[in-house]
Symmetry: C2
Subunit: 302 residues, 2 copies
C-alpha cells in the first residue's frame, strides 16, 4: 500500500514574507489558483500580522475575499496573537496555524514572551478560534534546535505536544525553520510524537538551510509522518541569517516521494511552472532543483 502524503504549500506565506518585493493581491490569487490546479489540497495563503511588520501580508483580508469557493482545497492562514485571530474570524478563515517556540530564548527574542507567557497566549488564541469553528493547527517552533540555544531537549517538545493535545488542537505541526534537524534524531523524536498524538495528524515544517531537509522528509516518512509543509521552488528563508536557504521545495519533495512509491496527488511539473515564473519575476534562481532540471528539453526523470 503506497503511503498517502499531504503537502501544505506555504510559498505564498512563508516564501513571500521573506522577499523585499511586495506582490499584488491579484498576482497572489493567480498563484493560488495555479497551485490548486497542480493538485495541492492545502495552501497557506496569508498571515494576519501587523502590516507594518510584514507588509507583504498586508492584504490578508483581500486574499481570503478573493479565493475561489472550492471546498476541495483548504486555504489556511497564520496568526501570532488574538488580534490576528479576530481578523481571521472576520475574514472567514477555516484553518488557522497558531504556534509557540520550544526555545525560551527564541520566544523572548522573536515574540517578546517567555515560554510560560506564550503558552497562555496560545491557549487564548486556540479557544477563540475553536469557539468560532475554526480548525487549529498547533505548532511548535524550534522543535529540532535553536540558533540561540542550540539543542532543544526532546522532553520539552513532548511536553508541548501534550499541552497542545490537551487544548484539543485539530492537528500538530513541528517546525525546523532553521534547518538544524538531522534525520536520525528527527526520526526518533517523531516516533515519540506520533505515539502521543494518536489519531491527531502531525505535520512537519522543514527547511533546507543545512541541506538536510529532504533527508529529514525521508526519515520522517519512515517514522510514519504523512504531512509536510513545502514551498514552490524552495522559497523562504530566515531574515536573520544571511544566505539561508528556504523551505523544502514542493516539486522536489513531490518527486522524491513519488519515486519512493508514495502518493501526493500533485503534479511536480505544474508546480515547477510556478517556480519558473517566480524565478523570471525575481530575476534570480530559487533554491529548488527540479524546476531547473525540467528546463532541459525532454529530460528523463524516473
Amino acid at each position: 500500500m503506497p503511503e498517502k502524503i499531504i503537502l501544505e504549500e506555504q510559498g505564498l506565506r512563508d516564501g513571500l514574507q521573506t522577499l523585499t518585493r511586495v506582490f499584488s493581491t491579484e498576482q497572489k490569487l493567480a498563484w493560488a489558483r495555479q497551485l490548486a490546479a497542480s493538485g495541492l489540497r492545502r495552501i497557506q495563503v496569508a498571515s494576519f500580522v501587523h502590516p507594518k511588520l510584514v507588509p507583504q501580508m498586508a492584504d490578508a483580508e483581500a486574499i481570503f475575499a478573493g479565493l475561489p469557493s472550492d471546498s476541495s482545497v483548504v486555504y489556511s492562514a497564520l496568526v501570532l496573537n488574538v488580534r490576528g485571530v479576530e481578523r481571521a474570524i472576520a475574514a472567514g478563515v477555516k484553518h488557522l496555524a497558531i504556534s509557540l517556540s520550544a526555545s525560551d530564548t527564541h520566544s523572548q527574542r522573536n515574540a517578546r514572551m517567555t515560554l510560560k507567557e506564550a503558552k497562555q497566549a496560545f491557549q487564548e488564541m486556540t479557544h477563540l478560534a475553536k469557539a468560532h469553528g475554526i480548525a487549529v493547527r498547533g505548532g511548535i517552533q524550534c522543535a529540532f534546535g535553536c540558533r540561540f540555544e542550540g539543542h532543544i531537549e526532546a522532553s520539552i517538545v513532548l511536553q508541548l505536544v501534550e499541552h497542545h493535545l490537551a487544548l484539543g488542537v485539530d492537528e500538530l505541526a513541528l517546525a525546523d525553520s532553521t534547518g538544524m534537524a538531522n534525520p536520525r534524531s528527527l526520526k526518533a523524536l517523531m516516533t515519540e510524537v506520533l505515539r502521543l498524538a494518536g489519531s491527531v495528524p502531525v505535520a512537519l515544517h522543514l527547511h533546507n538551510t543545512e541541506n538536510k531537509g529532504y533527508a529529514n522528509v525521508y526519515a520522517a516518512v519512515e517514522a510514519g509522518v504523512r504531512q509536510f509543509d513545502t514551498a514552490f521552488g524552495g522559497l523562504g528563508g530566515c531574515p536573520f541569517i544571511r544566505n539561508a536557504s528556504g523551505n523544502i521545495a514542493t516539486e522536489d519533495t513531490v518527486h522524491m516521494l513519488h519515486q519512493m512509491g508514495c502518493e501526493t496527488g500533485i503534479d511536480p511539473r505544474a508546480v515547477a511552472q510556478v517556480s519558473l515564473g517566480m524565478e523570471a519575476l525575481l530575476e534570480q534562481p530559487l533554491p529548488g532543483m527540479l524546476y531547473k532540471l525540467l528546463q532541459n528539453q525532454d529530460i528523463c526523470l524516473i
Copy 2:
C-alpha cells in the same frame, strides 16, 4: 559505537573537470594540502584522460609529482582506458578508479563501447593496474538510473558487482552522477550489494542534482554503507545537463554525519574555507549550504 565513515574528496577531479576555467598545478596542489589538513584521508586529484578532451586534467603527471609524500593520505586518480593506466603507473599512482556503466546506452554514447566491450576493457585495465601493485576501485556508473534509459534493473547492477568482485577489485563504487537515486530503493539495493561484497569496501558516489543526495547518504548509512565520495562546496555537475547541481558537498555531508553521531575525522569548517576561496575565485556561489551559513558570525550549529 559511532559509525566511522570514510569520505573521498573529489572536488579536484569531478569538480574541476566541469569548470571552463583551468587552474594551475600549484593552485591544485595548494587545495590538496588544505583538504588533507582538514582531516580528509582520501583525495582524488586527477584523471589520466586525453588532455584535448579534458584540458582541466592535463597536468595529471605534474600533480602526482608535486604531492607531499604523506603516507596517511591516499591520493587517487581516475582512468578510462589502458593508456590512462599506463600513464598512472609511470606517475606512481597507488589507487586507481576504473569503471563501466550499468546502462548500455550511456556506455555507447559516453565511452563508445557496448557493455560487453566495456567489461573487456575493464578487465584489461584492472589486470594491468593490479600487476603493478595498484589498488583498484571498481566502479559502476548509472547504478541508480540513466538519463537515456531511465530505470536500471537491480539485477544488472548486482551482476556487475559480481563481475568486479571476481576480478579481485580492492573496493567497489556505485555512482549516481545524475542524482536519480531515491533513498528507499537505494537502501534496498545497497543492502544487497553489501551482502555480495562481504569484506570488500563499498563506496557511493552521489550527486545532489535532484536534491536527494543527502537523503541518499542517510539511507545508505542506515543500510551499512561507510564510504562516500564528496566535493568541497558541492562542486561538479554534468556538462550535458543545464543547471545540474554537483556532488554532495564534503562539509555539508560531514556536518550531517557528525550530527547523526558518525565519525569522519574531518573538520567541516576547514573544508568550508576551501569552498569560500573557490567561490571568490569563480565569483559565483557553489551549491553547498554549510560554507555559506558559516559566513554568518558566530552562527550556532548543533
